[in-house]
């Protein structure tokens, strides 16, 4: 929450430095709050910051893990990739970017992951499906034990649909709208295997094959007109609708 008239929004901690007492967050300027947050200058304060909340990422030795990420999730998945590597996994990262100019965060991943594939589009924002071919390539070439995906909801849904026929355990990091972040309001409720869960306390990671994607997409768009998102974030051209 940036100031006293601000809004509470969920952010993913992309990295931290316990010695320095700092954390790193990465976000897109989309709505009112992220615009405000982007205008904060060095030395300024934000009114309120709470966390870490929710459950920690599930890390163990799985074997080969493919991480399919896009947008700001490219940066937020760095600690997950690092821990997966530390646990002894082979980690393949597939990054989706709308265009080559809008790719970021890949440098850090190249240093830690075993393999990084970038799938850059033509800048149109329209198709997130480009990550699916590289993903299928990996699945064809080697035994994949687990897939982790974070990014736009439609991309995560397509990733889930792609891995399901292969029965590859797939985990999605969900990002519904939240208010308090402590399990109090139920704004972030998601339907997982027919059951209602609160992403703020039960998540953010869920079994991607059990997620009711249509409900999540609809709920994420609840305020997309009120908060005056840029056109390409309003899902107007999205094939899912």
């Amino acid at each position: 929450m940036v100031d006293e008239k601000g809004e509470r929004i969920p952010l993913t901690i992309a990295d931290w430095d316990a010695k320095e007492g700092s954390i790193t967050v990465v976000f897109n300027e989309v709505g009112r709050t992220t615009h405000k947050l982007a205008s904060v200058q060095v030395g300024d304060c934000v009114l309120s910051f709470t966390g870490p909340l929710g459950l920690a990422a599930h890390i163990e030795k799985f074997g080969t893990v493919v991480c399919v990420v896009a947008g700001y999730s490219t940066a937020t998945c760095v600690p997950i990739v690092r821990e997966l590597k530390a646990a002894g996994n082979r980690v393949v990262v597939i990054i989706r970017a709308p265009s080559k100019d809008m790719l970021f965060g890949d440098e850090a991943l190249r240093k830690i992951a075993d393999q990084v594939t970038v799938s850059a589009g033509d800048g149109s924002f329209e198709c997130v499906g480009f990550v699916l071919e590289p993903l299928k390539d990996v699945i064809r070439k080697e035994k994949v034990d687990r897939v982790f995906t974070a990014g736009p909801v439609c991309m995560m849904k397509l990733v889930a649909n792609t891995t399901k026929p292969f029965n590859i355990p797939t985990v999605a990091s969900l990002n519904p709208i939240m208010v308090d972040g402590t399990g109090m309001c139920g704004c972030c409720r998601v339907v997982i295997g027919g059951q209602t869960k609160f992403a703020c306390v039960d998540g953010p990671e869920f079994d991607a094959h059990q997620v009711d994607w249509a409900s999540l997409m609809a709920r994420r768009c609840t305020y997309s007109i009120d908060t005056k998102s840029p056109v390409h974030y309003q899902c107007l051209n999205c094939a899912q609708w």
């Binding site: 929450m1 008239k5 601000g6 809004e7 509470r8 009112r32 709050t33 405000k36 009114l47 309120s48 910051f49 709470t50 966390g51 870490p52 909340l53 208010v179 308090d180 402590t182 399990g183 109090m184 309001c185 139920g186 704004c187 409720r189 339907v191 209602t196 306390v201 009711d212 249509a214 409900s215 997409m217 609809a218 709920r219 768009c221 609840t222 305020y223 009120d226 908060t227 609708w241």
Partner: protein
């Protein structure tokens, strides 16, 4: 000869229903000094003083009223605050009709003294006349004991104030960015102005209580970490924050809110001032609020003020069973809220992009009394019908947030998720940990949480003194 009984209970001025339905300013305007004086003089100072036993914190009601009658307002403040640290809040939100006023001797003549309104008058007078009051008593000698209070709602504020007054070093942890708990996020501005809540929080801080915001105990630190970090006792006053849903098809459609979300957006985040404030809350034309408690009334009246055209309270029992405070039901009816009694939702229908468009309902009838003593609602066969709605607020009550119980070893909980604590002392089964308020009882009232806080504080003090 005793003075003649005055059975004309003084009405409190209120904003006109047509005007107040469009603003968030306080509805009840409070007594004028003359009105307060006249109402105070109606108390017959009966020897049995039954009203005191009706108050969960046992305020010496006849004494503060007598001080008022004599024009001794500083005296009235002192008597009131001796037992109740938050009178400005209780005077506004207590269900007096089922507590002190229900026990009033004049209740038999259907004209109980308006104790709540008098309490409010005294508290408001104090706020506006700080300089006329004697200076606060000097701080007590520090005991050297550290107390952690988790949650800054009614129970937490009470424990923090009591323990600080006894000389303990108190730290109060709050998960949100502002203190006050349900008094801030739940109860709307038009019923309990937030400046009054913050005034009471400031009073508690003035006693030496350290307030730590943005601190979710159970996540950032656990209760056990607090105990091993030097706190000698911990009080859990985290309330009942987990919203219950109907568990019917379509409940995850857009436009369906828990009352917690709806009220948090409106009150805590000030969605009624969007876009000056950043938190939005889209409001439809036809709003259904499911439930019959105070929270349902608050939600319905907020919806009206946010611009809804038709607001319905949908309640499965009848008017006689409404658990809400009488005054709020009356206010809601005056403002044009439509009550659909003996009606129960069975599902929701959605339209384009997953927004709710209609609610399927059945009619109910009342059968034999159930465990709560209220007549049990039974479905009337073949009574299905559909209501056109575009916003729904589910206000069925709340249960405690499981976060603390799940992260605290050795804490016992019931099947309802409430923490087990001794009714008289608030002591949990875990060493050095007390609990009180909604976390123990499930959703109840502000004053019962304060009562539990007082009892827990007394027991914690006794423990720390040994």
């Amino acid at each position: 000869m005793p003075p003649k009984l005055n059975l004309n209970r003084m009405e409190m001025p209120r904003q006109d229903p047509h005007v107040r339905g469009k603003n968030f300013k306080e509805v009840a305007l409070g007594y004028s000094p003359e009105q307060a004086q006249e109402e105070a003089s109606r108390c017959i100072q009966c020897p049995k003083r039954p009203c005191i036993s009706g108050c969960p914190v046992n305020v010496d009601i006849p004494d503060f009223i007598e001080a008022m009658r004599k024009g001794n307002l500083p005296g009235a403040v002192k008597i009131l605050k001796g037992k109740n640290a938050l009178p400005g809040i209780c005077g506004r939100v207590c269900p007096q009709e089922s507590q002190c006023e229900a026990k009033c001797t004049l209740e038999k003549r259907k004209a109980p003294v308006a104790i709540g309104r008098l309490e409010r008058f005294v508290a408001d007078w104090e706020r506006q006349n700080k300089s006329a009051l004697p200076p606060p008593p000097p701080s007590p000698a520090p005991t050297g004991k550290k107390v952690a209070v988790v949650g800054s709602g009614p129970a937490g504020l009470t424990v923090a104030a009591e323990m600080a007054k006894l000389g303990h070093a108190v730290t109060m942890f709050e998960a949100l960015h502002v203190a006050g708990g349900v008094l801030m996020y739940g109860i709307p501005e038009f019923r309990l102005p937030k400046a009054i809540v913050q005034g009471e929080v400031d009073y508690v801080k003035s006693l030496g209580v350290e307030l730590v915001l943005d601190s979710v105990i159970g996540k950032v630190d656990t209760v056990d970490e607090l105990l091993s970090n030097g706190y000698h006792a911990v009080f859990l006053g985290t309330g009942a924050g987990l919203p219950m849903f109907l568990q019917v098809p379509g409940e995850d459609l857009c436009g369906i809110y828990s009352a917690n979300e709806f009220l948090t957006r409106t009150n805590l985040m000030k969605a009624y001032l969007f876009p000056e404030y950043d938190t939005p809350l889209g409001m439809g034309m036809n709003v259904a609020v499911i439930g019959g408690g105070n929270v349902a009334m608050d939600s319905a009246r907020c919806a009206l003020r946010l611009g809804a055209r038709n607001v319905y309270i949908v309640y499965r029992r009848s008017a006689a069973e409404l658990p809400a405070r009488h005054e709020e039901v009356e206010n809601a009816m005056e403002e044009g809220i439509v009550f659909k009694f003996l009606t129960n939702p069975t599902g929701f229908l959605g339209g384009g992009r997953g927004w709710v468009t209609a609610m399927q309902c059945v009619e109910m009838e009342l059968g034999e009394p159930d465990a709560s003593g209220r007549r049990r609602p039974i479905v009337k066969k073949g009574s299905d019908f559909v209501m056109k709605v575009d916003t729904v607020v589910v206000s069925l009550g709340t249960s405690p947030n499981p976060l603390i119980a799940a992260t605290t070893e050795g804490l016992k909980t019931t099947s309802h998720g409430t923490v087990v604590a001794d009714e008289k002392t608030g002591k949990t089964v875990k060493d050095k940990v007390w609990a009180g308020g909604d976390i123990v009882t499930g959703s109840a009232t502000v004053i019962s949480a304060m009562g539990a806080g007082k009892r827990a504080a007394a027991d914690m003090h006794a423990f720390l003194a040994t």
